[in-house]
Symmetry: C2
Subunit: 137 residues, 2 copies
């Protein structure tokens, strides 16, 4: 499903993610340092977080609040990765590699934009305004 593209698209800067998660920059960077998340970077090396990244940070935060340490969280994530069949079969990943060998961030955004325009056109005439939201279903 192409919603994965959307959910993994680098969109948010550090400041927003801090507010969204109520984590400190230090914490977020520390979690990255330990491989729990891998936000994208701008050309200028600023972190850009995706919806997935924010999701993950919220999970991390919850687990930490429940007393799990980073090592534990790492295991939990790893276990999930290996034991869960995953919505997106591995083949899909391969297929994507084949069909789109290394989408750049810019290409990704073009894709998103295209979908947005389309989604917007959808309920623009009949409703009052484009709804970027329905884009995430």
């Amino acid at each position: 499903m192409s919603s994965n593209i959307r959910r993994s698209m680098p969109l948010f800067p550090m400041g927003i993610v801090m507010q969204l998660t109520e984590l400190s920059a230090r914490q977020i960077r520390y979690y990255e340092e330990h491989g729990l998340i891998s936000p994208a970077r701008t050309e200028g090396n600023r972190r850009l977080f995706s919806f997935n990244d924010v999701d993950r940070l919220l999970e991390i935060k919850e687990l930490i609040e429940q007393g799990v340490n980073l090592a534990g969280i790492k295991q939990i994530f790893a276990a999930r990765q290996s034991t869960m069949p995953s919505n997106e079969p591995v083949a899909e990943t391969v297929k994507e590699k084949v069909k789109k060998p290394d989408l750049t961030d810019e290409e990704l955004r073009k894709l998103l934009r295209a979908e947005l325009v389309e989604a917007g056109r959808f309920n623009r005439t009949s409703l009052r305004q484009g709804d970027m939201a329905r884009f995430f279903h």
Copy 2:
């Protein structure tokens, strides 16, 4: 509906919006200057755009490509505002004003976070990861 909160939440910095819309910073600022959008600001005065803002910019871009000038676009938006009954009845706006008299950005983000946590909990155990996306339906 509370999806309005989400759709109007200030999330994106200028750089991302430029890529998402393929508009120049100059253009985006110019459109704001002429009242076509009103992005929020950080404490430090940086613009923060919402999904709605991006939607609007994409609309503006399309209309401009179709030869409509800013004055025309302004009229179109104004007309939409007044003639369309709007999904969200006016009463709702009033109600929100009554129940939540002036939500700050921070409060808005707390709301979003809360919903995210909940949404995450939903398909976290049975699926592989939280799905911030389903949050936007």
